[in-house]
Amino acid sequence: MTLFATETLWWIPCYGLVGVLFTLPWAIGSVKNTGPRPAAYFNFLMTALALIHALILWQTSWTHPAYNIEFVWFEVGNWHQDIILRASIESLGGVFLITLLSFLAQLFALGYMEKDWGLARFFALMGFFEGAMCGLALSDSLLASYGLLELLTLSTYLLVGFWYAQPLVVTAARDAFWTKRLGDMLLLMGVVALSTLAPSLNFTDLTAWAHTDGKLLSPTAITLLGFALIAGPIGKCAQFPLNLWLDEAMEGPNPASIMRNSVVVACGAYVLIRVQPILALSPVVMGTLVFIGALTAIGASWVALAQVDLKRAFCHSTSAYLGLVFIAVGLQQSEVALLLLFAHTLAKALLFMSIGSVIFTTSTQDLRELGGLGSRMPATTTAYLVAASGLVAGLPLGSFWALGAFGQILATAPFLLIILLSVNGLTAFNLGRVFGLVFMGPAQPKTRRAPEVPWTMAVPLVALTILTLLVPLFILQGHFTSLTLSLPVLLLVVSGVLGGWFGYQGTRVPLVLPKTQLREQIQDFLAHDLYVERFYRATIVTWISWGAKITAWLDRHIVDGAVNLVGLGSLVSGQFLRYANSGQSQTYVLTIVVGVIVVGVVELIITLH
């Protein structure tokens, strides 16, 4: 069994890629008469195999010690780069979670994307996505992890740009790529710096290096290095100031959003946790992590409240939650960070699946057009409620344990505790608000005849609901946390319950707030994502476009102008050598060949003397 495990570990990221290769004939349109279904089914089958394989390996890992398998990627002289896959309980658990969610999301997509002509392409992209994430979970080398993060950036671009004919999608895909690429570029700077400073780019070696030679680095150098390393995860986890792409990415198909808001953002955080020993060398970097996390957590929680788009209302809460993970990493609480990620992943995936059902049956994602779905879509409503309870500390589902554990740690840091409580309360408020608007209240024209989703979508929905309900059992069995009845935990429960209650009540009994200018401004400020986009425009977009304009001016007037100045321009554009139009080309060819030979001979004769 162990031999099987060691020898087949590398298959796991390959299942998705095999699916991609198989789909190519359908995706490029050379097979048309079968429709795209066979390709979709094949990809689905590949994911199922990956899931079973991952489950077997994960079970093995509970009884066997962790091990690595190594491949030499390339070598030049005695310098080589390796790709190392690490099989441990954590990494294989991550792989299991990724393949499980990919499996459920693809099953869901069979229904959701049923009538889309690009079904084959979508499943291929999902397979690619899954393969890259599995690779990332297994990778034990920073270079490979960096590469896989870039591949995730690429597949996010392709998935967000899936419906590329729509104008909003065009900018969304572009901005998602640019934002993440900016983070990745800075991360690459860090990777390159580390590749010359540290003995190798394996996480094990890097950790060892951070405890020995790394300490000899000057504080400036280590701080710069740390900033470069956290830039990649900031982009990937949609943290301020690289947070806006996630909002725009909601233009993509919903099954991809299920993955993006749960496991993809977690991948960024996972890399952050792996490099944490190096970050810990610089208190400035750790402080920045906490600061960015806190800022994003609070800002995104507020922004979420002002959204009228169903998907956008929750993608900001993803940023907020990942902000908490950033705080945890900044406080060197990697285990809590992992627990937070785990609790968030399933619940958020379920949440996006349930709102996907709503969007599928009503064909709208505008909160103002929805209402009264609770009795019409019981399975979806149940799923939403379970997901909501799993996301906030209130009922004892996943996040109660994770946030509770974090709250106990933060008991000594009251300021951060307040942030945690506000995020919990605001998220609950948002979930209650959306629940009231979508599932309660009077039915609207678009929801009046909404049926429950077909079985291909209901099965993954129910399955994931059950799994989310089982999360606390898993957390408790694994003894990942122990909660006592302490003040932070109590406060968390109170904030969660009160937040949810007020959010829900707010939709039934509209608060009579005076309609003042200040209120409008605050609403606009939140609805426009704190004007982060304007910030981009005023800074980096302006710099680059001015850079381009100035260079273009220089090129036209100075560099090319100098050519004209010395008279070459008139020579070039004049009536010089007019033979290209003539039919008598051979003669002219002969002329110029002879001419060049004569010049060459003359040069050689000069040489001789």
């Binding site: 490029i28 390339f74 030049v76 002289g77 590469g147 896989l148 870039e150 591949l151 950036t153 392709l158 740009g161 590329y164 004919a165 104008p167 065009v170 900018t171 895909a173 572009r174 790529f177 640019w178 690429r181 570029m185 690459l188 700077m189 390159v192 710096a193 590749s195 010359t196 400073l197 000899l216 680095l217 000057s218 400036t220 150098a221 680059i544 850079g547 381009a548 304009k549 260079t551 273009a552 090129d555 560099v559 090319d560 100098a562 050519v563 070459l568 070039v572 010089f576 050598l577 033979y579 290209a580 080309s585 051979q586 060819v589 110029i592 060949v593 060049v596 050689l604 040489t607 001789l608």
Partner: protein, 514 residues
């Protein structure tokens, strides 16, 4: 064996000319003859590769025929780790260029004859082991390229071709001046590369003058800012196969020349100029990238991206470590393949839509009436160019950055900003031309034939394959570059000089360990 790579195309060209004088040669016939010859030379280059021993230093498969003894010009060919990958790339791209030529091209015989002569000239320059011979091949390659642009080019072909000719001719004159100067000042009557390399070194001041001459000469060819303005014009006017060859292989004559002759013949001057060269690399990278952002013509955008990517090469060469020079060769291969791919795709778009204007093109990915496969390949091409892992560009760029960072940290970081800018302009290209909705003007585009896709598919496959298995690209060169560096002890001085620049990036304890 090496002569075969050079002379089979020449003989083929001669045969075509004679045949066309005797009988009427149809377009198809001359195309097939040219393709057959290109296939043979490509096969020979592969055999050369299979027989190459990457463990031994020095030239392999050397050929020597005395020619004009009086001026030290001998017919001297050889292949080593620097030239082998480039020769194979040359033969591959010539085949691709001939295959992707318009089947209905006017004056076919002359066209294919010129392509074959171009192939011979370039291969000869890569193989030449005598600096005068290199110069001759360098000049010989210029004539067919000039005519290819001037006869088969776009509306402003005369302007572009003449500009190209004047720039490159100037480049040739300066190069010759540098070579002659070197020979006269050392009192050598032999222009053999090996002899020149092992003579007693000239005073550093003299070396510097000669090196600067050579750098300007080859900087025009490469091209490096500010000697680049001929390139976008030439690309815009040249037909697709000519652009493929120009970007894919002919620019590498410049960088190859800088590497072999600049670094190889003037190591002390090189060591002194290295920080300046790294700065020049940064200027080239950023300038090329910003220019690309400002372009509205797809071909100009790709052309300026070449200027930027050539800057990475200069950085790698400035660092002059065995690894960075391997990285330079890898970048030459990577850029050769990627820019060839991009030009092929832009060529198909232009052929089908009649425009390259990014303000006009939109929605080309549309599945039924657009160009979906060309669009998908374009996404792959631009991602490769932007250095996304899994494709050949990333390997080359990572190697460059890794090997240069410890020597020129600031310059390396600034060059890395260039990779970010590459993503900016190429995403603008893809999103404008391929995303969105097809306009009425662009609908009902003619179908893309298999023969039009095939060259791009082949190149794209190679781009991905070498991205996953870079060993096939890297294994040839290391012994040669190690020998190049270790036989010139002065090059080691670059490293300590650079560490002083680091301003405390590396602490004292680390320094003493080195």
């Amino acid at each position: 064996m090496l002569s075969a790579v050079v002379w089979i195309p020449v003989l083929g060209a001669l045969g075509l000319v004679l045949a066309s004088q005797v009988t009427k040669v149809s377009t198809q016939q001359s195309r097939w003859v040219a393709l057959a010859i290109a296939s043979i030379t490509f096969l020979i280059s592969l055999i050369l590769m299979a027989g190459f021993n990457s463990e031994i230093t020095g030239m392999q498969k050397e050929e020597f025929i005395p020619w004009i003894k009086a001026i030290g010009l001998n017919y001297q060919l050889g292949v080593d780790g620097l030239s082998l990958p480039l020769v194979v790339l040359n033969q591959f791209l010539v085949w691709i260029a001939i295959f992707s030529s318009d089947t209905q091209i006017k004056r076919p015989t002359l066209y294919y004859v010129l392509l074959l002569l171009l192939s011979a000239g370039t291969a000869g320059a890569f193989l030449a082991q005598n600096v005068l011979l290199f110069f001759l091949f360098f000049e010989v390659e210029l004539i067919p390229l000039y005519l290819l642009i001037a006869i088969w080019g776009g509306p402003r072909r005369e302007y572009a071709a003449t500009k190209f000719l004047i720039y490159t001719a100037l480049s040739g004159v300066l190069m010759l001046a540098a070579f002659l100067g070197l020979a006269f000042l050392t009192g050598m009557v032999d222009f053999s590369y090996a002899t020149l390399r092992h003579q007693t070194p000239l005073p550093v001041a003299t070396q510097t003058v000669l090196l600067v001459l050579l750098l300007v000469a080859l900087g025009i060819k490469t091209p490096l800012v500010p000697f680049h303005t001929w390139l976008p014009d030439a690309h815009v006017e040249a037909s697709t196969p000519v652009s493929v060859l120009l970007a894919g292989i002919l620019l590498k004559l410049g960088t190859y020349g800088i590497l072999r002759f600049g670094l190889g013949l003037f190591p002390q001057a090189w060591a002194n100029l290295a920080p300046f060269l790294a700065g020049w690399a940064v200027v080239s990278v950023l300038y090329g990238s910003f220019m690309a952002i400002a372009q509205k013509d797809m071909k100009k955008m790709v052309a300026y991206s070449s200027v930027g990517h050539m800057g990475f090469l200069l950085l790698a060469m400035a660092a002059a470590t065995p690894l960075s020079l391997v990285a330079a060769i890898a970048q030459m291969i990577a850029h050769g393949l990627i820019s060839a791919l991009l030009f092929l795709l832009v060529g198909v778009v232009y052929k089908k839509t009649g425009t390259r204007d990014l303000d006009v093109l939109t929605g080309l990915l549309a599945p039924e009436r657009g160009l979906p496969i060309i669009g998908s390949l374009m996404v792959l091409g631009v991602m490769a160019s932007a250095g996304i892992p899994g494709m050949v560009g990333f390997v080359a760029e990572f190697l460059i950055f890794h090997s240069c960072f410890s020597i020129f940290p600031i310059q390396t970081l600034l060059c890395m900003v260039g990779t970010g800018l590459t993503a900016v302009y190429f995403l603008l290209l893809v999103n404008r031309a391929f995303f969105g909705r097809l306009t009425a003007k662009l609908s009902n585009l003619p179908r893309v034939l298999l023969s039009e896709k095939l060259p791009a598919v082949l190149v794209a496959a190679l781009v991905v394959f070498l991205g996953w298995q870079p060993g096939w690209m890297l294994r040839w060169t290391e012994t040669t570059t190690r020998e190049l560096i270790t036989s010139s002890p002065s090059l080691d001085r670059i490293i300590p000089a650079a560490i002083r620049q680091e301003n405390g990036l590396v602490p004292q304890a680390k320094l003493s360990q080195r």
